[in-house]
Symmetry: C2
DNA sequence: CGTTTACCATACGGGTGAGTATGGATTGAC
DNA sequence: GTCAATCCATACTCACCCGTATGGTAAACG
């Protein structure tokens, strides 16, 4: 068996690679490519992280169901032979991509909000920032529609649980008694999730910018005590 | 070509059949079956509506992606030969099922709510009834996760639009000025949609009955003016 | 009672996508 | 430069599922 070692964790591990979960272009602009301006995408060697990023990119655009290895390979300019060197199976890619997303996609906002001194200003600031960075929540919205998939359920459970706890303490710090703070967090988070669903794939709240801002302010006035 | 006539609208149309969108058992307890208690499901002839109901049943349980004709046939105790007599293609079944759901699943609640005399009592009543009949919204929750499917988008757009308008007028009748009523309706509907997502497939708000009722009352107190 | 019509089974063709086998090409170590 | 490790291409198998073709059976009608 001269088969290469496509282990679960993949051979490439450790090292000072840049971990910032950039789901931008297909390839991460390789290290030393020949800088050709031809139509073909730049060629270099791929790593497992490249596949994970491409997978997250595809999930954000077309959902978990569209995650096919041959489609990904075409998009990356290679064939399946490359994929099955880095990953054992399609599920392992999904797991790795989800794990990666959970790790590096968490403290985008929460850590920034926690630095705000006045607790009463945190929630309005959180609402406004989330509303103006909806694009970064496309993976979450796509995963929300794939909750029938057994692999995404635990990830989403953990992420939603953490966000819910953050919201609950924020509402407590804003002056609500504990029981009300928990329910208000549930309501707020449900409104957030529902808005993602209704806004992305369905384009239901067909509203322009200023109307959207007015909606956000209405949310703030309705949900945040003060 | 001795091929039978599987037209779009299907041959069976009109007639005093019971239209109540019952997504209960696999077969609708046929007209004159032999009432056997054997393990095999009761045998009779199937109609297009039986297939549509079974399709909605399957969609509610496993999502739109799991709607396969052979799986449905197995579940109904027949083979594909039966299906392709009633329907021309798989898409036509989906369209028929969605159309059926849109028609008969609409005025379950709205018509009942409209009969309430006092407008200020309508919204709390609506909230409580919807909260205690979540099971009938499983199809809507499943369709919500299939918004990348082109066939479900127009249906969901129409249904959501109607419900949004109903909510908007209800909030106006409850005393809110028009602009605020619209935004409050958006917020309320987003909370409804998000709760469906977080509750069904993800079991996130792991709360018992009295805690759930408390949450509903919190929603009423927070979102409904007065 | 026989014939037509409605409904279903069986068997097949075709397309898609996951996973495997294996050899070739590229890179880095020495 | 050589050799081994790493990465990728090609070709294949297998399973699943849509749709078709066609013959069979039970119900409806005369």
């Amino acid at each position: 068996m001269p088969a290469p070692p496509p282990e679960g964790g993949s051979p490439a591990q450790g090292g000072p690679t840049d971990h910032t979960l950039q789901i931008t272009n297909q390839r991460g602009y390789g290290y030393h490519t020949q800088m050709n301006v031809s139509s073909k995408p730049e060629r270099s060697r791929l790593s497992a992280e490249d596949w994970e990023n491409a997978a997250l990119h595809l999930i954000a655009e077309q959902g978990v169901g569209a995650l096919a290895v041959e489609a990904l390979a075409r998009q990356l300019g290679v064939t399946k032979g490359s994929f099955y060197w880095h990953f054992r199976t399609r599920e392992s890619l999904l797991n790795a991509a989800l794990e990666r997303w959970e790790r590096y996609g968490e403290r985008e906002i929460i850590s920034q909000i926690e630095e705000i001194a006045d607790p009463r200003e945190r929630l309005p600031e959180l609402f406004r920032r989330v509303a103006h960075e909806l694009q970064s929540h496309r993976v979450y919205a796509a995963l929300l529609k794939a909750l029938d998939h057994p692999q995404v359920v635990p990830v989403m459970a953990r992420v939603s649980q953490r966000r819910m706890e953050f919201l609950t303490t924020a509402f407590r710090e804003a002056g609500l008694p504990p029981a009300q703070a928990l329910n208000r967090a549930r309501l707020t988070y449900a409104a957030y999730v529902g808005f993602l669903q209704l806004n992305f794939t369905l384009g239901l709240p067909r509203i322009n910018h200023e109307e959207f801002d007015a909606y956000i302010e209405h949310m703030i006035a309705t949900l945040i005590p003060g």
